[in-house]
């Protein structure tokens, strides 16, 4: 474990305790206002106003990816990854352009999940419904895992005891599970309001602190200008962020994140189109600024304070040739994500005394909030997919509304425990297949992006066929899986250098969409003719 200064005293414990207690209060309040129906449990009665909608959409979009992953990636690869912030306005536009149409159709037809709309449009009550549910699960599981992992990382760095990682991951998972189970969408949305405000504040505050610890903006950028050339240019330190990869990742990550089931259900839950219109503007303007002027500066400051190169300009590498962070930040290639917490612990209390400790504690709680707000939305959406799209349709179609909501709660409990076990087992595996937050996050988004072609067709073009949609999604999922880090674990290096070459050209999700669209169009044309 890296050495960090325990300069924060008990302040983080107190602030964290107050925050967690508040979440449980929201859970209970949501339960008191709820009715025992699926529509209420999953969509809060389709009556969310603009503030709740804007903040729950933001909080679901921003996760530990934003507060730990993004600064970690800038710390590793340099300023090039700051350009990834430009995916946020694209996502903002998608909130209005896609969200308003999804909401209108969803309200008219009483849809609850994405699969309801897609299965209805293409007339595929079994195959497409199950496929869409599968895509949702493939997105939600890694995303929940990432958030729980972030809770573990945070706890390990804050408390530094022997099992701090496991305890932190478990506390985050169990409290999140508890308030979703109690209050459903209403609790999730209300807690997202608090968490959304915390994470917007935390992101900006983190950037401000990074600049402050280096003596203000002038000295900050003077120091940044002296970073190694690779840190100030594309494709970055590791050579990963070629402009084409950055472009396809930005484009598909933004839209893919907006059509994943949890966001789709937030569109259904919005009270009006005006709500989504205003949410889209807030999203695009505020969140991009949080990235550019907030967390991205943390990564750059990290490169100055904890250099990746030694006095001779050589990078520290592990046995496999991966670039390593500074020893004060971590010892393995997956430890770049720690840079924000290390900076907060080591510099803020030193600089600002107890006020610095309070600021640092607030940012740490914001990281926790970012992780929990995404985990809760995804667990809640996954519960809807498995209960409404599988249990209600094929196992117990005659189940009462009460039974359905209780089955949904059971799904949340099981999914939380499975995700927690995955995180802990992976942590103790020598290869740690979960790796860095950004890499796993982009893979989850790549799976969700496979709903994009049929969503565009369903909302705008309306020329696709049922078989085209089914085989398009299957092709996209297969392509993403073959290009994922999980394929070599199962099949070894069976595809030789082809996979490597493809991954160096475009983002994995883009390749999936390419295959998906090709098959979707060809089969749709063929089936329409015959």
């Amino acid at each position: 474990m890296p050495e960090t200064v325990e300069g924060l005293g008990y302040i983080p414990h107190v602030i964290l305790g107050v925050y967690l207690a508040m979440l449980l209060v929201f859970g209970v309040r949501g339960y008191r206002q709820s009715q025992d129906t699926e529509e209420d449990y999953y969509l809060a009665g389709r009556n969310q106003g603009w503030l709740v909608s804007a903040l729950t959409i933001m909080a679901t979009f921003f996760s530990s990816f934003a507060l730990l992953g993004a600064p970690g990636m800038v710390y590793r690869d340099g300023v090039v990854f700051a350009l990834f912030s430009l995916n946020v306005p694209v996502a903002g536009v998608a909130v209005y352009v896609l969200g308003s149409r999804i909401r209108r159709i969803g309200q008219e037809r009483g849809f609850l999940t994405p699969a309801d709309m897609i299965a209805d449009h293409y007339g595929s009550p079994v195959a497409l419904r199950l496929l869409v549910a599968l895509v949702g699960v493939l997105y939600a599981v890694p995303y929940v895992v990432i958030q729980i992992q972030a809770g573990g990382i945070l706890s390990q760095m804050m408390f530094q005891s022997l099992h701090a990682f496991e305890v932190g991951a478990a506390v985050l998972a169990l409290i999140t599970m508890l308030y979703i189970m109690i209050g459903g969408m209403r609790s999730v949305a209300w807690t997202d309001v608090v968490q959304g405000l915390l994470l917007v504040g935390g992101m900006l505050l983190a950037g401000f602190c990074a600049v402050a610890v280096m003596g203000g903006p002038v000295s900050f950028f003077e120091a940044v200008a002296k970073l190694p050339p690779k840190s100030l240019s594309a494709p970055g330190t590791t050579g990963h962020w070629q402009p084409e990869i950055l472009f396809t990742a930005s484009l598909f990550a933004s839209v893919g994140s907006m059509i994943q089931p949890a966001q789709w259900m937030r569109f259904y839950a919005a009270r009006s189109v005006a709500v989504l219109k205003r949410s889209a503007l807030i999203f695009a303007a505020v969140l991009t600024a949080c990235f550019f002027f907030g967390v991205m500066l943390v990564g750059l400051g990290g490169q100055v304070l904890y250099p990746l190169v030694d006095g001779g300009g050589a990078y520290r590498l592990d046995a496999a040739g991966h670039v390593l962070p500074h020893v004060m930040v971590g010892e393995t290639a997956r430890d770049f994500d720690r840079v924000l917490v290390v900076m907060l612990q080591n510099h803020l209390p030193e600089l600002l005394g107890s006020f610095g400790a309070i600021l640092a504690a607030l940012i740490l709680v914001a990281i926790m909030a970012a992780a929990m707000s995404t985990a809760d939305s995804n667990l809640h959406a996954m519960s809807a997919l498995l209960t409404h799209d599988v249990y209600d349709q094929y196992i117990r179609p005659d189940a009462s509304q009460r039974e359905r909501t209780w089955v949904g709660r059971g799904v949340i409990a099981v999914a939380t425990v499975v995700a927690l076990v995955l995180v802990i087992v992976s942590r103790h595996s020598p290869s740690n297949p979960l790796g860095m937050i950004v890499i796993l996050g982009l893979l989850a988004i790549a799976f969700a992006t496979q709903l994009l072609p049929l969503t565009i067709d369903m909302l705008f073009i309306k020329k696709g066929s049922r078989l085209g949609a089914i085989w398009g999604v299957i092709t996209g999922l297969v392509v993403v899986f073959v290009l994922s880090p999980f394929w070599p674990m199962l099949a070894g290096n069976t595809l030789g250098d082809v996979v490597g070459v493809m991954k160096r050209m475009f983002d994995v999700g883009a390749w999936g969409v390419l295959g998906n669209v090709l098959i979707f169009v060809l089969i749709s044309m063929w089936t329409r003719r015959t």
Partner: protein
């Protein structure tokens, strides 16, 4: 300018901003890290960072115009 023309213009501007800001457009200003004479900063800030900010402003401008002129409250 009528709504249709404005929509087309804004879509073109927005897509250009995405392509230039976080896409192949980066190559226009990207300094070569192996070139000892390469200039990495402009006005004291990393060139790539300034480039990103510029296209963020363009994206936001297009969204603001769409918000006030095109997007409806009851679509």
């Amino acid at each position: 300018m009528n709504r249709k023309t404005l929509s087309i213009v804004l879509v073109c501007v927005f897509l250009t901003a995405v392509t230039m800001g976080s896409g192949p457009g980066i190559r226009l200003i990207n300094p070569d890290p192996t070139d000892p004479h390469a200039v990495f900063t402009i006005w004291g800030l990393p060139k790539i960072y300034v480039w990103g900010l510029l296209w963020y402003v363009v994206q936001l401008g297009a969204i603001l115009i769409a918000y006030f002129k095109l997007w409806k409250d009851d679509a």
